[in-house]
């Protein structure tokens, strides 16, 4: 077996060194590009997932979301719960809020966005929404009659530019009419416009808790409390900690709250990625197969002669396998170097997606998976044509 491999390696090595350099280089280049494609698209998808995850934490949920117990609308004594939570080690911010829907009208344009009633100071400890004011300023603690809108909600005068129903290009200082779901209607001056790259934030409206409680006659309640923890990734552990401190409300992690939305997006991307990967591997199979097949068919007579002088068929097949593996190895190495350059460039200049800048994320399992799949594809694409050509009987091969 070892002797066979030695002879096969000898034949493959000489064929590579003294064979057609142009064909070999082109084949290696194609395999290199296939390897880049196998890694690049998934790394972008992972980058998008990382971005969306971070956006979920920074702009929508924090790390944990506390909601009322089953069959209850509000969390009572929200202030007391907030203080309890703030004392728990590992928690860096707590923000009780009311989440509702309201109808906002401006010059005949009517929208029904999600309306968040927040304590701006508490909100700053959990989310980064307040840092994304593109025009005007964010809410202050005692503000009444003031509203902050996402830029998508504010919209454009030319409604064709709007991605969602909007107020038709309303700006800071203008007054809008807000009708709450208890029927109360109030006028609000627009204090600020948010531009965050987070679709949900840019489509929402924000007022103070004080205003909301005044409209609804509520006090010290909330229907959502957001919690920021010092570390991200240990949410389940922190949930248990909260339970051990006697928090009896429903506790959700940000992953659970954003699961459906994220899963749909990532699921869609993964389908595209699967198609891309399959096409890449098919290209790799076809290229290596054609190169080896043409090589073997062109050398059909030579293969017949080698068999005639006593060189075992398995040695000849192995020699082509070694050539295919050489193409795989150098192609992968070259593709890896090319990928490294692309990743460096993109780390410095990330691609700006609608959701924000995305830097590709390459992890070891992805590299290993790509290498293994390309390795297997190379083996098959090298073996099959060599097997087919060497199957021919000696005399037919010699006669050509």
């Amino acid at each position: 077996m070892f002797e066979e491999s030695k002879v096969a390696f000898f034949l493959a090595k000489r064929s590579i060194i003294r064979g057609n350099k142009g064909t070999l280089s082109l084949t290696i280049l194609i395999i290199g590009m296939v390897f880049v494609n196998l890694i690049f698209l998934p790394s972008i998808i992972t980058g998008v997932a990382v971005l969306f995850n971070q956006q979920s934490i920074d702009y929508s949920y924090g790390n944990l979301v506390i909601e009322p117990k089953k069959n209850q609308v509000f969390i009572n004594n929200a202030g007391e719960l907030q203080r309890k939570l703030e004392r728990i080690p590992g928690i860096t911010g707590v923000s009780p809020r009311y989440v509702t829907a309201a109808t906002i009208v401006y010059k005949g344009n009517e929208v029904t966005p999600a309306l968040y009633a927040i304590n701006p100071d508490d909100e700053r400890t959990v989310l980064k929404v307040s840092t994304k004011v593109s025009s005007g300023s964010f809410l202050a603690g005692e503000d009444t009659g003031q509203i902050v809108l996402g830029f998508r909600l504010a919209g454009n005068e030319n409604e064709k530019l709007d991605a969602i129903p909007s107020l038709g290009g309303v700006d800071v200082g203008k007054v809008v009419e807000v009708t709450f779901n208890n029927g109360v209607t109030r006028q609000f001056r627009i204090k600020g416009i948010l531009t965050s790259n987070s679709f949900s934030v840019d489509s929402n409206a924000y007022i103070t808790r004080k205003e909301y409680e005044d409209v609804f006659g509520l006090e010290d309640r909330a229907n959502q409390i957001l919690v920021r923890t010092r570390e991200t990734g240990n949410e389940n552990e922190m949930r248990n900690t909260l339970l051990s401190y006697g928090v009896q409300e429903e506790i959700w992690t940000w992953q659970e709250k954003s699961a459906n939305f994220l899963n749909q997006i990532i699921g869609s991307f993964n389908i595209i990625n699967f198609i891309g990967t399959a096409v890449s591997l098919v290209i790799a199979v076809i290229v290596i197969f054609i190169v080896i097949f043409i090589n073997t068919v062109y050398r059909r007579k030579q293969i017949g002669i080698l068999k005639a002088i006593g060189i075992d068929r398995s040695i000849i097949i192995k020699s082509y396998l070694f050539q295919a593996l050489f193409i795989f190895a150098i192609g992968t190495l070259m593709g890896g170097l090319f990928l490294l350059i692309i990743l460096q460039l993109l780390a410095a200049n990330p691609i700006v997606f609608p959701g924000g800048p995305v830097a590709p994320v390459v992890d070891l399992p992805l590299i290993i998976r790509s290498m293994v799949s390309l390795f297997l594809v190379s083996l098959i694409a090298g073996y099959v044509p060599a097997w087919i050509t060497t199957k021919e009987d000696i005399l037919s091969a010699i006669r050509g």
Binding site: E3, I17, G19, Q302, A308, I309, G310, I398
Partner: protein, 241 residues
């Protein structure tokens, strides 16, 4: 020694059948230089292919040094070709990416010979065939005659029981043909190498100990040319020079 008995080879299926060998029995003794001659389609190459284990007879048997080669499976036939037979083809059939030395090296390497021994044997044999100074040249850098000598060296490297040559001079001019035939003769005389060679050139007959004439798949006649004078008669090529 090769002994073949009632060899037949029928090509084709059904109604259209071609009988390439129609019952050939022959004996090749150790150390003989035998020529197989005859017109096209007489079955001379088919017989050589049977001796070289490149094809299987439809019926009949072949014994090479007492081994019934017809009973060997494909793996054993490959090993037999590698270890016991040497084959020289009409068109040299060298691996273009291998140098002269590497082409010769290949069968001995496949046989499992140590690298050092391989190198030594290859150099010896290439010197024997007159190519001691061309061992690092690729086939593309050598003339047809030189390539054929490399092919002969490759056939000899594993010290075969039997050297088979299928019209080895067909692609060579008369000068190079004579070099090759002289080389065969030298190998036959000095190393007692058994050689069976197919040829259709009449002037080659002078080199053979014995000639088997074939016609229509049968041995038409045999002619022994053991006399030294006869074996070194003038060739048509030589006459002209």
């Amino acid at each position: 020694m090769i002994i073949c008995q009632d060899l037949t080879k029928v090509y084709g299926m059904g109604a259209v059948q071609v009988k390439a060998l129609a019952g050939v029995s022959a004996k090749i003794r150790k150390g003989e230089f035998v020529g197989i001659m005859g017109p096209s389609g007489s079955g001379k190459s088919t017989l050589l292919h049977m001796f070289g284990l490149l094809d299987r007879p439809t019926s009949g048997s072949i014994l090479i040094d007492g081994v019934d080669v017809g009973a060997l499976d494909e793996g054993a036939r490959t090993q037999f070709r590698l270890r016991r037979l040497g084959y020289v083809f009409q068109d040299y059939a060298l691996v273009p990416e291998l140098t002269a030395k590497e082409n010769v090296y290949l069968p001995s390497m496949a046989r499992g010979m140590a690298a050092q021994e391989c190198t030594l044997v290859c150099s010896e044999i290439l010197t024997l065939v007159g190519l001691g100074d061309r061992i690092h040249h690729l086939p593309g850098e050598m003339s047809g005659g030189e390539q054929q000598r490399v092919a002969i060296a490759r056939a000899l490297v594993n010290r075969p029981t039997l050297l088979l040559a299928d019209e080895p001079c067909a692609n060579l001019d008369s000068r190079n043909s004579r070099i090759i035939l002289d080389l065969f003769q030298k190998l036959n005389r000095d190393l007692h190498q058994t050689i069976v060679m197919v040829s259709h050139e009449e002037w080659h007959m002078q080199y053979f100990d014995r000639i088997i004439f074939m016609k229509d798949g049968l041995i038409e006649k045999e002619e022994r040319r053991s006399d030294e004078g006869e074996r070194h008669g003038t060739s048509p090529g030589a006459e002209g020079e």
